[in-house]
Subunit: 246 residues, 2 copies
């Protein structure tokens, strides 16, 4: 059975793509078969790995393509489904359909052979994110050490719970991941403390602010490849272990 995990936070720039890429790549490095689905019209997973493909998740969603047409191998044990701005218009086409929030689940259902499927979400709460929440059984919430990001969490949790209640769909918050953390910054410590107060043990160890994480995408490499002994690589390896043994 595939563990279905969405990486979500409607606040922009909190480290969703960075977290999705590294949890996926880290699990693949450890020998697990992983599918990483880019569900953001920005298409930053493809940008990160420096790859393009004419068939994307939008084609899969609108049944213009089958899974084998959109799945690309990028690293040993790691396949991806790319996205681009056609996902924006695909969302608009979904509006007129019935059960339009279950389309991703239906279209990903036939795919097997992966132990993990990780979905990178766009910075929004819309029909696409509802599709991701109805597909996933677990969510990872990356939260940057910013007051505006902290305040937005309540709105996000309400959305997740309303999907669980309203659609009777079992979805758990597997990890709340503090990102851009810096021990010397009082704000970082306060924000992590208040997250732990609100979420308890679900809050993972923080991902430290690390320039290697910001440089890695321009080289088309994960931080594990680009700077294996950096804080970024260590922190994400630690997060990966949390998913390996859960």
């Amino acid at each position: 059975r595939t563990r279905r995990i969405a990486v979500i936070n409607h606040k922009g720039g909190t480290g969703k793509t960075t977290t999705a890429v590294h949890v996926a790549a880290g699990l693949a490095d450890a020998g697990h078969r992983v599918l990483l689905v880019d569900f953001d019209p920005q298409g930053n997973v493809g940008v990160w790995f420096g790859i393009e493909h004419e068939r994307t998740v939008a084609d899969l969603l609108l049944s213009r393509a089958e899974p084998r047409d959109v799945i690309l191998p990028v690293r040993p044990n790691l396949d991806v489904v790319l996205s681009d701005q056609t996902l924006g218009s695909a969302q608009e086409a979904l509006f007129h359909r019935t059960a339009n929030d279950e389309v991703l689940r239906t279209r990903l259902a036939p795919i097997s052979g992966y132990e993990f499927c990780i979905v990178d979400c766009a910075p929004s709460l819309n029909l696409l994110t509802r599709n991701a929440l109805l597909y996933a059984e677990e969510v990872i919430i990356p939260i940057s050490m910013e007051y505006l990001a902290l305040v937005g969490v309540r709105q996000l949790v309400e959305n997740i719970l309303s999907v669980r209640r309203g659609k009777r769909h079992d979805i758990e918050i597997s990890a709340v991941v503090p990102t851009f953390f810096s021990r010397q910054n009082k704000k970082s410590l306060e924000i992590v403390e208040s997250l732990r107060g609100y979420f308890g043990a679900v809050v993972s160890d923080p991902i430290r602010l690390n320039v290697k994480l910001s440089e890695a995408p321009s080289h088309g490499l994960t931080v594990f490849e680009y700077a294996p002994s950096s804080n970024g690589a260590r922190d994400y390896r630690k997060l990966v272990r949390r998913f390996e043994h859960a």
Copy 2:
């Protein structure tokens, strides 16, 4: 006549809200009458100023409220229209209407008495952002010093140009604003150089990375009030001057 300016970038966390708040507050400080419209369901303008209001831009958009019901004074010369997550469902209600991308323009048209109207956009390219682009005559594009943010600019510019061509609507890029800039970081210098190569003189002086800009929202203050002699305050004052004399 009101100068209509949208602050836009679908990449998340590039400093849109911070830029919208400070260009608006800076112009108001200089004696200009300014309206700041929050057009992001996150509602971060209200979060920043620590205010809520039962009537928001969603009500205005769906004609459930008139301009006088949604406009709130927050500082001398500065009024705001707040937003909240009802803007998400308001967008979905717009889908079934004709001319659904001109609704913001129609609903803001009767408002007068302001020299500037600044619209803070969500990190998306969707029907709401199309509404903002068809209302605005100028755009400000904040870009953080990140490779993923730089790559996304081309997609954004294409969207702006397609609105200009497709809808014969005059819209200019008034400023491309480098944010989170740090002179010691080679990446920052490279990114600004490549922006200047692409956009020329439209690229403003950068806004430096400054902890006061990240602390100000939790105090409900602009950086001009919170830390008037900080780099953040100086850099945004300089940006404001660019709009005062243009």
